[in-house]
């Protein structure tokens, strides 16, 4: 199921300037695996040394914080628009 992912400018130096991408994934883990594979340079910025998604990154689906939708358990729907937003300080989904 195709979803659209918007990349914040802070990360675009690791995505060859790509600001938006489309992919077909089912959930958040799938999305980050897709990002790891497509942009290997991005991986250490999205995940910490233990492989966990970094604390200060927020994920929004159709402008709703994914934590209110079930977080890792949320199943992406066709046409979902996903925003990766570096948290100003807080975060962690």
């Amino acid at each position: 199921m195709p979803i659209t992912v918007q990349i914040p400018s802070a990360l675009r130096r690791h995505t060859n300037g790509i600001a938006k991408m489309t992919c077909s994934v089912t959930d958040l883990n799938g999305l980050f695996s897709e990002l790891d594979a497509k942009f290997p340079e991005l991986k250490p910025h999205l995940r910490d040394e233990t492989g966990q998604i970094r604390r200060f990154l927020n994920v929004y689906v159709n402008e709703e914080d994914i934590r209110f939708l079930g977080g890792n358990n949320y199943a992406f729907q066709d046409g979902d628009e996903v925003l990766l937003v570096p948290s100003i300080a807080g975060g962690r989904f």
Partner: protein, 434 residues
């Protein structure tokens, strides 16, 4: 108490020394110099201003501070200000009030109020943070300054922008109190109302900051902005005669203030201005938006975001930016966090007004209500010296008191009418004029 500052002292005194400072990542410690940025590109963690304390060790003294202006600028040497900065107006140095009547009501003794309800120019502690942020905004060459706000910050950015010659674009949740909207528009700021919560407004502003070269005080200028809150801590210590209190109760929205008061106390200890002693930090939230309080009570170190539902709109941040660090500050000090219902918020506003003559906004009602719980539960002992941070003015949130007071029918301008009115009011038998 410390001798008050000289009223005639100049705001633009020559600075003998200023600590050199730079931004560093709070988690990976990478240096980012000085630039408009709030996150580390490497690990997304927030940036913090770090100082070279040795550079001001011999000049940041009690004596020199006492010679400074009666404003937060007396602590300029430990604020991240550009070279040759000249303040456009006085801000801060608000009263520290002894609060014996409130203390009696709460069954405490040594209780004080740090009263930022009278902080100039817009009657909240946000004037402090904005003053620092806009100093850097000018140095970085921004022409437009902006913010996401629950109201007090909107007022402060708009006023300071007007005074400093910036254009201001202010983003607010559409349900903000009318007084806070008018109190922003009057300064000529462009107010953009967003149909959504503060957290949604904040997320939008992060995106806008990504696209527009604007100085968002609480986004790309946030590390500098947040440092302005330290002046609350400096002032508490100085006004207590260069001593630290046993406890501080701080309202929490984004959670930054409580961490910065702690940082201020730590700096004063580091530089030898106060004796080192333990201070407990207590956080206060409205139950209808209590992500930090909930985490502290559950023993969690991370925030679970909430959808705010409270009349304390200035604290209605469901995903607090500094929540993680606020939790660490509270639990690391041996403090605690409490939260109160909307009814208790209103009661706290009224209690503070009737006992001490201080009219605070809903956030202050939260602080007083939580302090009541903290005394009742024994987490704050009566004999300990405790400071409540009152961060905003009640004139901005009068709607919270709707229905609490009767508007009586007028009486005729005649003495006999008044005497009859007085008798009725005091339940006395009415006298008959002869």
């Amino acid at each position: 108490m410390a001798k008050s500052a000289r009223p005639g002292a100049r705001e633009t005194r020559k600075r003998v020394a200023m600590a050199s400072f730079e931004l560093r990542c709070r988690e990976c410690n990478k240096s980012w110099g000085n630039q408009p940025r709030s996150i580390c590109d490497d690990c997304f963690s927030p940036l913090e201003v770090f100082y070279d304390y040795d550079s001001v060790r011999s000049t940041f003294t009690r004596e020199r501070i006492a010679q400074g202006p009666p404003s937060m600028w007396r602590y300029s040497d430990l604020l991240p200000l550009p070279e040759n900065f000249k303040p456009a107006m006085p801000t801060g140095f608000t009263p520290l009030l002894n609060a014996p009547h409130l203390a009696e009501s709460l069954r405490g003794k040594n209780l004080f109020l740090k009263n930022d309800a009278v902080c100039l120019p817009t009657l909240s502690f946000k004037d402090r943070v904005v003053a620092v942020a806009l100093a850097q905004a000018k140095a970085f060459g921004f022409e437009v300054v902006s913010c996401s706000s629950t109201g007090n910050l909107a007022n402060a950015v708009a006023a300071h922008a007007a005074r400093n010659g910036f254009q201001a674009w202010i983003f607010i949740p559409s349900d903000l109190e009318p007084a806070k909207i008018v109190g922003t528009q009057v300064f000529g700021a462009k107010v953009v109302r967003i149909s959504g919560s503060y957290d949604q407004v904040n997320r939008l502003c992060s995106q806008i900051a990504d696209e527009h070269n604007w100085g968002f005080v609480n986004v790309n200028l946030r590390p500098y902005y947040a440092e302005g809150s330290k002046t609350v801590g400096y002032e508490i210590a100085e006004q207590m005669g260069w001593r630290l209190p046993d406890n501080v109760v701080v309202p929490m929205a984004g959670g930054s203030l409580i961490t910065k008061v702690k940082k201020a106390f730590g700096e004063l200890i580091e530089l030898g201005l106060v004796e080192d002693k333990p201070v407990k930090f207590f956080g206060a939230q409205a139950t209808g938006c209590s992500p930090i309080s909930t985490a502290v009570k559950a023993g969690n170190t991370e925030i679970e975001p909430q959808k705010p539902k409270t009349i304390a709109r200035s604290l209605a941040i469901g995903n607090p930016a500094d929540g993680h660090y606020a939790i660490k500050t509270i639990t690391g000090s041996g403090g605690w966090s409490e939260d109160v219902s909307d009814a208790e918020v209103v009661d706290g506003i009224q209690l503070l007004a009737t006992t001490e003559g201080v009219f605070t906004e809903t956030a202050g009602g939260v602080t007083v209500g939580c302090a009541r719980k903290l005394y009742a539960s024994g987490r704050i002992s009566p004999d300990e010296t405790t400071v409540l941070c009152i961060t905003g003015n009640g004139l901005k949130t009068t709607d919270a008191l709707t229905g609490k007071y009767e508007v009586e029918s007028p009486i005729a301008p005649k003495l006999a009418e008044f005497e009859a009115y007085l008798s009725r009011s005091l339940n006395l038998p009415e006298t008959v004029a002869v």
